[in-house]
Symmetry: C2
Subunit: 432 residues, 2 copies
């Protein structure tokens, strides 16, 4: 099958998928979990072949770790499927109701987006997660995984496709792409694919964003800031700075830069330095920071770098306004926190820092779908349309307007004897 | 100023605009209406110069009509500004609240998107409408109007900019681009411009959509369908078909194709033909239609054409399933209606036709922001992310997550003595 033909098949199935009941979709998710468990052995075997080939190709150790799909990982994705079943179906929710006139009722109702393109690197568990999120939300999915995982991915898609078909889901909703050329091709399919979700390194996501007209849900950088205001509780500020940087460094919501108000810098910097260094963090400071504490000098490049490592850059600023400007210049719109006891300053920070997640007196590390209670995380978005910050299942739906009448024509609402619209808003679920 | 510098200025002002109060923004809208009224004479003079140049350049009559900005049009846009003041501010609305733990509260709050690029053709009133919608929603705007309206547009932007500044709105939120090269340049500014709204012909919108990575809110085609089911009330079906086609033909929500169930075609087609021809509509039919009534033969091209004219193509179909497939193949996802007395068929149609507006027993012409009671229409979107169908002010906002704590760290929620998240959902407005 050509990529175009696969995309058309996905599109056609997406239409049928939109009419599946919650019960049918959940039954399919259950069947998929059963099938993955019963195929555990062949899955591990396929993955071992992928791993052996990857080792022969001298793949780096962290990549090998991500590629590994063992019994534990299989059980983990199955538990994920079972908790997904418990979540509310994001489709079919009435967002608003307006009576336009007696017997002419307008409903805004959530529905699947259509066809989601997902491009991910080596982790086979990502394939199961994202395809199950698509199924729950009624979307068809075209997947492109890392070529290192080719055998594992092919088997996974066969199992998922077969199991969902057995549960009555129309065939064709999940399509696997296999070559790098396939990716370039789907990036051009803006007539068929409605949304692309890339998962992987910053460079990888940035490449996808720069090379398609299709909407992309994701984030390239996570350059997060903590600003310690002059009116901060300094013990709290130390704890938040340390947690934001050190609690787990390899993730997008870890802080990379600490901004410190000049007024409290002489007192605060030595304290935070001690706490950070006790956790093994390296400090890179602006000239003013380096005068107050011993630190390596930071360059302009540091302010724009997501270290994903035990390194924190520190800059002394004149106050709130400079902190906001700095974050708006260097931040990536992911997560930025202020530590202050002054609610007015907190409000100004939260309203004018252009970020998906604006935090007051807590760690940037809270920025996450699980901690937010979203139930399932589709991804983290630094987009400014559709969905922003941690995105749950609601990021995979859009809405349609459903208007139910009894033969009304617009001609009746124009001219000298025109009927007038009532435009009454109530809570009422769409009956269809 | 270079386009890049203008875009940076717009971006910087957008940050300040996000912190403006509803009162300040509404006061500015009021001041703009006053200024437009008091500059009526110079505006008309500038427009007359544009008109004279356009006539000398032999611009077509419909374009001249759209270019005209006389005292009546000025009063109309001022009334529009005054009704915009009455609308609720779309920003600062709390969409959801979650208590993550005692004293750790998460709010999802609407906020402006940032910088909107608007590209429109000759109508100067569009400039006032869209820039005022952007101001109300707290967005900066970069505008590119038709070159025929250069003098009118320049004066309008000066007046709007000056009046809003007098009302205390930071300068720089409205920027005018003047050359065709400027358009090509802003289409590349995906780092600065967050959303593009093109207004104009199908070809024009399609060109914009195909030539930018920035999200586009709009619609190229409006190929709308009416399907008359075997179980339709045929009097109702005639009235809806006639209204959908003939009530106003030059608009995107007018029907272009009528699908008729084979079972009722022999009875229905002669009746609808009579009613359509009485209104001056020309019919182009599929072979089966042409056997039942006298009509010009339709080609495949007809099914994919937005006539915007008194022409309707008619196709006989085997039933609901074929109608749905046909619409999903040829429709543009704008507005599609079914006429039937059978609620199950209506539900199947509304849930599986992939369209922004799915109608049951009413005219496609209802698909419109005013009729929907949106208050103001930003545009009609055939996108499948962010906003769909008629889009009101809410299409110009996104949300940010605001998390308010008292020094919480993620470390407290991990390890053997981990606190657990409460994830309680309530209705509570964000205090900041």
């Amino acid at each position: 099958m050509t990529i175009q033909a696969m995309a058309r098949a996905a599109k056609q199935t997406s239409i049928l998928l939109a009419a599946q009941t919650t019960r049918a979709k959940d039954a399919a998710l259950k069947r998929i979990a059963e099938a993955l468990r019963s195929h555990k052995q062949v899955l591990v075997q396929a993955n071992q072949k992928d791993l052996a080939a990857a080792e022969a190709n001298q793949l780096a150790a962290p990549l090998l770790k991500r590629l590994k799909f063992d019994a534990g990982k299989i059980e983990e994705v199955c538990l994920g499927l079972e908790s997904l079943i418990q979540l509310r179906d994001p489709t079919g929710q009435t967002l608003s109701f307006t009576e336009l006139d007696q017997g002419l009722e307008l409903y805004k109702v959530t529905c699947p987006i259509g066809v989601i393109g997902v491009i991910f690197e080596s982790r086979p568990d990502a394939l199961v997660q994202i395809s199950s999120l698509c199924l729950k939300s009624g979307n068809a999915v075209m997947l492109k995984g890392g070529s290192e995982a080719a055998l594992t991915n092919r088997l996974l898609v066969d199992i998922i496709s077969q199991a969902s078909q057995e549960a009555g889901i129309p065939v064709g909703w999940i399509q696997l792409l296999e070559t790098r050329e396939d990716v370039a091709e789907i990036l051009n399919l803006d007539d068929t694919i409605d949304l692309i979700i890339p998962r992987g390194s910053n460079e990888f996501v940035k490449y996808i964003m720069d090379n398609t007209n299709i909407a992309v849900l994701g984030h390239a950088d996570g350059i997060c800031h903590v600003f310690v205001d002059a009116e901060a509780d300094l013990d709290m500020a130390v704890a938040i700075a340390v947690d934001s940087k050190c609690q787990y460094v390899a993730v997008c919501n870890a802080a990379e830069t600490l901004l410190v108000d000049r007024a409290i810098a002489p007192e605060f910097l030595p304290r935070v330095k001690g706490a950070l260094e006790a956790r093994g963090a390296e400090i890179r400071g602006c000239p003013e920071t380096c005068k107050l504490i011993a630190a390596a000098p930071a360059t302009d490049r540091d302010w724009a770098t997501e270290y994903l490592d035990m390194i924190l850059s520190i800059k002394v600023v004149a106050g709130l306004a400079e902190a906001i400007d700095f974050i708006n210049q260097y931040g990536s719109g992911h997560t930025d926190a202020i530590v202050t006891q002054n609610p007015d300053k907190a409000a100004q920070f939260m309203n004018t820092v252009d970020t998906g997640n604006a935090f007051w007196n807590c760690s940037t590390r809270f920025s996450d779908g699980f901690r937010y209670g979203l139930g399932a995380e589709v991804g983290v978005s630094t987009n400014k349309i559709h969905a922003r910050g941690p995105v749950g299942l609601e990021g995979l739906v859009i809405y349609k307007w459903k208007l139910i009448g009894h033969g009304q024509t617009v001609a009746q609402y124009s001219g000298p004897e025109a009927r007038t619209f009532t435009h009454k808003h109530n809570h009422k679920d769409c009956p269809l």
